[in-house]
């Protein structure tokens, strides 16, 4: 279980990205977080794995406190949380397999990961992660040579290789076309259901949020202004979260519409 208790984040320079956030997320939930850019979606996810330190409040994962955790403690927390990024964040100049093996860093001795002599068991875990997202045949291809959708699948495989209990996805489809976006969201939902990994996804597109989310959290100026079942969400809810009327830019597209 994940708990945010009165969490605030203020960046150096005084920008307050999160204000007194309270959230409780049960194991196996699939939560979609929406809000305008700058509303604090990214900060919310990064506060959970300590990439952005919370200024005040308490964040716990299965009872372990994240706020204030240092070195070994923080690494242990991070190793249980997989993260997927908007820009994939792969090492372009190395192979897909090497990128996925990065997910094993916390479990492998330093001398092995530094020399590249990965244990066979960890290579096996990485291969299985690639199989789960359906691109194991690309294992020895350079990451830069893949399409955007394939690169994001490598990103998912890297997170899966951690064997995580929580998955964070920060705008995972913002750099992808509508068809690929649906496939990637489908992958995330499938992984959530089959493996029971608690998943938090930041999204911009409201139709995607409706289609894939079960629970919706709305952020506005760093505050949680909506938290509830996706079935109860109306256009009025989105207007409230966004603070303005919904436009076409907030929608991905109709089903399967191709793009250039």
């Amino acid at each position: 279980m994940i708990r945010f208790n009165d969490v605030s984040v203020t960046y150096r320079g005084g920008v307050q990205a999160l204000r007194n956030v309270d959230l409780r997320i049960d194991d196996g939930e699939f939560v979609v977080v929406v809000g305008l850019s700058g509303a604090g979606k990214s900060t919310l996810l990064r506060a959970l794995n300590g990439l952005v330190p919370a200024t005040s409040g308490s964040i716990t994962i299965d009872g372990t406190e994240v706020v204030g955790a240092q070195s070994a403690e923080l690494r242990a927390i991070r190793s249980r949380i997989g993260m997927i990024f908007q820009t994939f964040n792969l090492v372009n100049r190395t192979s897909v397999l090497n990128n996925v093996l990065m997910g094993r860093l916390a479990s492998v001795p330093t001398w092995r990961s530094t020399t590249g002599l990965w244990p066979a068991t960890d290579t096996e875990i990485a291969m299985q992660a690639l199989e789960r997202v359906g691109i194991v045949e690309k294992a020895y291809v350079r990451a830069a040579d893949l399409s955007g959708g394939q690169q994001q699948r490598v990103g998912i495989a890297r997170a899966l290789a951690q064997e995580p209990s929580v998955m964070l996805a920060d705008e995972p489809v913002a750099a992808l076309d509508p068809v690929t976006s649906r496939q990637i969201m489908g992958d995330l939902r499938r992984i959530n259901r089959e493996m029971g990994i608690t998943t938090m996804v930041n999204l911009h597109y409201l139709d995607l949020a409706r289609e894939f989310g079960r629970r919706l959290v709305g952020l506005r100026d760093g505050e949680v202004v909506f938290d509830g079942d996706i079935a109860d969400v109306t256009d009025e809810t989105f207007r409230h979260i966004y603070g303005r009327a919904i436009t076409d830019d907030d929608l991905l597209a109709v089903d399967g519409e191709p793009t250039e």
Binding site: V91, M102, L105
Partner: protein
């Protein structure tokens, strides 16, 4: 449909008077400085009409192309350059990572490594050579050490820029997996800057070939020592032969290095 209102085009800004002032100051000071040190452009011809230049010809090729006289010391120069490049660049790798705000494990490491490199860089390579010749005696050993320090300084300067400019996104991803600092840098940053590292290493090797010739002049071994000895005997014909040979070697190594570097970056 109404287009945007068309604004008047701006007039092209003129270079202004500043450039002439700067140029004027520069010329005036050059003339002044030349007077101060007794430089006279007319002495240029005196330099070239000196009978010294006749001593450069003809080149005694059988002496120059002799193994013991020239080729062996030249090989020594090459070896000094190889050793110095490997040692200097080897040390530069961890140092550059320690110095960059992106990859340094902590602030203390960053400040200390930066201070050390500032001191190393502040001392000229010829002075390092003299210092090491005094410390470990005349010969290739001192030359290798001096050139290693020189390589380290140059490599850190060049490679640090590549590290500072590395893509921070894979690094963030590596951090998010919960890895330790060293493996995170190794897997998240090193592969992204490795081609630059090798390219700069080759460039440093080129510099080292040329520098090790100069270092020989102060007793640090290699072909430079032979040049210095022949100069003292006024055997400028031999000196010219050696210089032509060195010139060919440097050109060949540079061409190979440039070709490899082009493929890398």
């Amino acid at each position: 449909m109404n287009g945007p209102t068309i604004a008047a085009r701006p007039t092209r800004p003129r270079p202004g008077a500043r450039i002439w002032v700067v140029l004027g100051v520069l010329i005036t000071y050059t003339v002044f400085a030349g007077r101060q040190v007794g430089f006279d452009i007319s002495t240029f011809w005196n330099v070239w009409s000196n009978p010294l230049w006749e001593k450069f010809w003809p080149v005694p090729w059988d002496w120059v192309l002799d193994w013991h006289n020239v080729l062996d010391p030249l090989l020594e120069t090459f070896q000094i350059a190889v050793v110095a490049t490997l040692v200097g660049c080897g040390l530069a790798l961890p140092l550059a990572f320690a110095m960059s705000p992106l990859t340094s494990p902590n602030r203390t490491t960053m400040v200390v490594s930066r201070s050390v490199m500032n001191v190393v860089r502040a001392v000229p390579d010829l002075f390092w050579a003299k210092l090491l010749v005094t410390a470990v005696g005349i010969g290739a050993f001192a030359g290798s050490w001096a050139l290693s320090v020189f390589s380290l300084a140059v490599m850190v300067k060049l490679f640090s820029e590549a590290v500072d400019g590395a893509d921070p996104r894979p690094l963030e991803a590596a951090k998010a997996t919960g890895g330790r600092h060293l493996p995170v840098i190794r897997t998240g940053v090193l592969p992204t800057v490795l081609p630059e590292y090798v390219a700069y290493g080759l460039y440093v090797f080129e510099l080292n070939i040329r520098a090790s010739v100069v270092l020989g002049l102060v007793g640090a071994g290699g072909i430079g020592r032979v040049i210095e000895a022949q100069r003292q005997y006024f055997r400028f014909d031999r000196v010219l032969g050696i210089l032509l040979l060195v010139f060919v070697v440097v050109i060949v190594i540079e061409q190979v290095s440039v070709a490899v570097r082009k493929r890398l970056v």
